[in-house]
Symmetry: C2
Subunit: 205 residues, 2 copies
């Protein structure tokens, strides 16, 4: 009777995204994920051989979901690469809404708990973050070539910096219990990128 709904494996993965983002990886029980998916533990271990393997697959699922989400975002339509980069940052700010677990990042949360004890999960989280950064770096590289070819920084490092700011903003939002501090930090990030590409200060007259 579950035919019309998404298949069970996907439901378990989606449930894992929700629960782990709220409670963290270690504190999440397999039964929590099953309950959130409306499935039993037997079903869970039919689809995943262990909790650890679920985490690895959840990280990949996270990348799939977020890649599609960002691919559909409107900022890609700008012709100018710098405008796409700034549009990306605006877009990241605009989705900081709802409850904190709804806009924070699965892999940023998981990697904190697993980097030293769980290499498979750490690598899966790294692939997710680095993969997304590479996407951002493509537009940054084009903007750099066009507007700042002699800049002393690489497109890759600036893309990673955007991810660092976002991940850090999530931590502050979690500590404060509010998204507004994250919005402020994204504002600073946008100002930085604008300054990097438009040094229209009275420095050079």
């Amino acid at each position: 009777m579950n035919a019309p709904t998404a298949d069970s494996r996907t439901r378990l993965l989606d449930a894992a995204l929700q629960v782990i983002r709220a409670r963290g990886y270690s504190a999440t029980r397999v039964d929590d994920i099953c309950a959130a998916a409306g499935l039993s533990k037997g079903s869970f271990f039919h689809h995943f051989e262990s909790k650890e393997q679920l985490a690895v697959e959840a990280a990949r699922h996270w990348s799939t979901v977020t890649d599609a989400f960002f691919a559909a975002a409107p900022y890609h339509r700008a012709d100018d690469p710098l405008q796409r980069v700034l549009g990306y940052i605006d877009f990241r700010k605009s989705i900081l809404m709802g409850r904190v677990p709804e806009f924070t990042c699965l892999v940023g949360t998981m990697v904190q708990e697993t980097y030293d004890t769980n290499p498979a999960i750490r690598e899966a989280c790294d692939r997710s973050i680095s993969g997304h950064a590479s996407e951002v770096a493509r537009d940054i590289a084009l903007a750099r070539e066009k507007y700042a070819p002699d800049a002393p920084w690489t497109a890759e490092s600036l893309a990673l910096h955007t991810q660092a700011v976002l991940q850090g903003a999530f931590i502050l939002a979690k500590a404060r219990g509010s998204a507004s501090v994250a919005e402020d930090s994204v504002d600073h990030l946008k100002r930085y990128v604008e300054l990097l590409f438009h040094p229209n200060h009275p420095k050079e007259h």
Copy 2:
């Protein structure tokens, strides 16, 4: 010999800083902390009424330790407030050495796992981060008044942004298993602050 019976509580707190930074809060067992401190569980529950309360006190202990550490750092000796801010950033970069758990932040790690389930720990982590940011904000406010009194950002928000960058840099370092990506992000942060203050900044060599 350390003071015989005097410091067991501190030894447990110090052990908690090490173990929780490496494994996270949920995955840390109280026996792990006891073993790292060379004490028994009876001693643990003599000093702390629960694992949760230990976490709250560990956050405060973390603030005490780090406050003293930063208070002793050389960047405070600069006369100019902007030089102190830039010196702070340089200092933060210079301590990104050793293994990852040795330079990352206890409260940034803990708050990710506890913000939605453990309000007491969340608040303790918030106090630690916000308290440190306030310290940084003092010099930023002086620099702003001196060099950029009409800037469209507040000293408080820029101070929080520095913390966001650092926390995010720690996450990237954990995912990558290397500090170098964190160093790059701190470089971007320093460049941002320099750009913010650049127009009226008197270069002195």
